[in-house]
């Protein structure tokens, strides 16, 4: 796991998780909620997918679990996840890649068609 994962390995779920951690650290359910609201309900992560992706992102070093940010309640088992420098780079690369794809589509006039009613 030396290199950051090449962008074509980044699943939509991983992309959304990184994006939701870009502005601040969040706990797992917080990530789900943020993805829900940001995508207006179009992307719905289930708990299994969320934590499976978190597991993969952690082992790739793109995010890390943060124990210091845990809530004052000692019984609160929720860890907080934060994006790493490496994660931020991967996110930026992926976003640039998507931007290029959109630009290419625009160049071909794909986006000029009106949406069907």
């Amino acid at each position: 796991m030396g290199e950051p994962p090449s962008t074509d390995l980044m699943t939509p779920a991983a992309y959304h998780i990184l994006l939701s951690l870009a502005d601040r650290p969040r706990h797992g359910y917080g990530i789900m909620q943020e993805v829900d609201t940001r995508s207006a309900g179009h992307v719905r992560l289930g708990p299994g997918t969320l934590y499976r992706s978190i597991k993969q992102l952690r082992s790739a070093g793109l995010i890390e679990a943060d124990a210091n940010q845990a809530s004052s309640d000692a019984n609160d088992r929720r860890r907080v996840y934060r994006i790493t420098e490496r994660g931020l780079n991967a996110l930026t690369n992926e976003a640039r890649r998507l931007e290029q794809l959109v630009a290419q589509a625009r160049g071909k006039g794909v986006l000029d068609h009106a949406r069907p009613a």
Binding site: H27, G28, Y29, M32, R44, L45, G46, P47, G48, T49, L50, Y51, R52, I54, K55, R77, R78, R79, P116, A117
Partner: protein, 896 residues
Amino acid sequence: MRASIRISRQLYRALISLYPRSFRAEYGAELLEAFVSIGRSMGPWHMWCRTLPDFLATLVSEWLDVIRSGRTFLGGSRGRGRPGGGMSFDIVADLKYASRQLARRPGYAAVGIVTLALGIGANTALFTVVNGVLLRPLPYHQPGQLVTVWQTYLEWRDSPSPQLRGVWDQIPASYPVYEDWLELNSVFVNLGAYYETDFAITGGDRPERLRGLNVTFGTLAALGVPPMLGRAFRPEDDRMGSERVVVMSNGFWRRRFGSDRAIVGQSITLDDVSVIVVGVMPPGFYFPDQGIDVWANMDDEDRQLGRGITASDAVIARLRPGITLTHAQRDMEAVTERIAEANPGQHEDRGVRLVPLHEEVVGNLRPPMVLLLSAVGVVLVIACANIANLLLVRATGRQKELAVRSALGAGRWRLARQLLSEAAVLSLLGGAVGVTVAVGALRPLALLLPPGTPRASQIAVDQRVLMFSLGLTIITVLLIGVLPAITASRTQIVTVLKDSSRWFRRAGQGHRSQSMLVISQIAFAYVLLAGAGILVKSFASLLSVDKGFTTENVLALEVRPPTTRYPNDSEVRQYYTRLYERLEAVPSVRSVGGGCCLPFTGHNSSHSIVVESDKGEDEAIVDRNVVSGSYFETMGIPIVAGRVFHGGEETPVAVISSSMAHQFWPGEDPIGRRITYRNHSIWFTVVGVVGDVSQHGLDVLPRPTMYYAFHQATYRARMQTILLRTDAAPAARAADVRNALWEVDGDVPVRRLSTMDDLISMSVAAPRFRTLLLSLLATLAGVLATFGIYGVVAFSVSQQTQEIGIRMALGARSVNVVGSVLRRGLVLASTGLAIGLGITLVAARVLESFLFEVSPRDPTTLLGVGLLLTAAAMAASYVPSRRATSVDPVEALRVE
């Protein structure tokens, strides 16, 4: 809500335990937290919808990861016996071992697989129906954005008439109101008005009556389904003076025009008017229900109707993106207020109500479907209890083997897992067989559905159904596997291995679990059987209702002479006179009559009248029927007093029903009394009283009814339902009748030709469906529970073979032995029955809305079902008890 989340939480915790240990240990607690948070914010239904498919997918990928890395394989050799440690290869080995074990005992495996297949199959089949009818999205573009818009009228909510009360919040709009909505709203992309009508198509070999929908441009536009050929409607089709155009359904296009693509742009004749075909819809498209043949634009007459409250335009709309239902409702309320301000005195007390289209289509199917789905779920639980029992018996029978393995170093978890694997193999095979059977059973099941069930053709196995079955199978593994696994893991090595006195041991842990299982089976079976029994009783009393008319040998059909050929009343009357003369000449027809409103067809007409009484004048709303020919004779409605119409009356006369006579002239002679319409100057004299008729269905009390003679009808009566009483089976006369009708006029189509018996049968199709299905499920539950008792009693007898042998050798009589075995069965049964009775009494409320003249706690049924199950339990216990007494003491003692 709280309780359901708590139960879901426990279930999900169990599911999490199926993940590989490393994943579970790292994220298990957080998974559970997230799951519960979803439940709190979205409710348990969404919680599961969102979690179950996600769980299955990630479960598989996590295990694949584990297998690929081989990590835990190494870990497994280190941590032998540790729960969850080193599993991937062991699991495969476990499953193989379990399959071999099962293959060695094919009878036992078959019982398990068939039982589970029944449970999972029945659930899958019913869920497929529920999925097709209730859950699947409507076949339109983004169907979640579609709503229907109704007017509400507060004055009707508190009206004494149950009919008005029933519709106060779903009143169609009038055309001007629709136009106001269209202009003033800011929340809809499209808004369309429509009403159903029928057309006669002529100009081919035979006239045909079509179901049509008159629509405005917005209706098909809102649905967002493009036509397959030609075009849909355009805004200019709604303008005054526009020509009439139609879009055809695919089915009608194929049936009548043999899929001729050149039909687009040509004209056809509907109701003697030439209209242009502009488009054909794709196959599978329907709106508002299957069976509409053509959609036509409205004509100028439709557009000129006034603002009256009795309007006929249903309105459908598509919400603008991002607009919620609540927002749209508020906006439309504001629009309604503006309309009321602009039209003082005309729109007071009127409101507006938006209903999601999906809710409108399937809303009232939900309660019976949920009832049946719960019942079939209970059947699966009972089936699982049976198999859990079988596995427990197996675990007990294998105690020695398990103890030896334990002594050789196998951990408890290892032993438990082996029994879980057996449960998994049984469930997977049962699930596979069950789903296969369910797919095969779909067609017969769909045929059972009441006619007119919306979206019945949508019933098919799809991804959601398969996910459901898979989820069910996993739950089944847990239900049947956990108890035996726990029992096995508690095996006490020392006790078992040195146990030479096993046969004196009384019921231990295993027996207690078994008894609990059987008791819960009986309790559940009782609940289902009692529910089914009460529904059957209710259905029987529904069928035994005195309808007030006789249905044998009566044929009914609808006729409407088209306006273009018969423009005025006298021509319409002449047509019917000629028609009746001709029909009476058909062989074996005894009498012919006609009425506007045939019972049980949903047709109905009511109006306000003023009656003369001793106290002055009374005003009331009564049902109205306009009859012709020998209506009363043909229907077999008895004459209670006076006479019925003879057809030659000059002065206006009326016949009334017994309940109307009783309501207005109690204890007096109504003959010669007078009745008039509200705001009307013609007075009708009562000439006769006839028996009451259940006009609105068997479960609705007859309402006061007034009959007019067709030749004196004061409004333009055109359509009549013709009734014929025949000597022979009426269906055989159908062709003769149709030909006679076309002899009189070949361009008048026949509609809804059926026997009266069929009409009655259709009207009770819904209660018949749920009664039949629930009875089937309850019977299955009863049979499974009986086998459950048999299994437990037989096993406990086999465990006590030696004890019984010694008792017999010491002189015990077989009666005593049989008695003690029966007693065990009876104790189990009566405990289960008591619990079942308790549940039934509490849950009875659920059934209330489905019942007719029967209490949901009907004591006879509750007692009868109790006796039935007791008898079954006794029979199930008697068989093993006989076997016990045939034990040869010498043999019994030699077993050790």
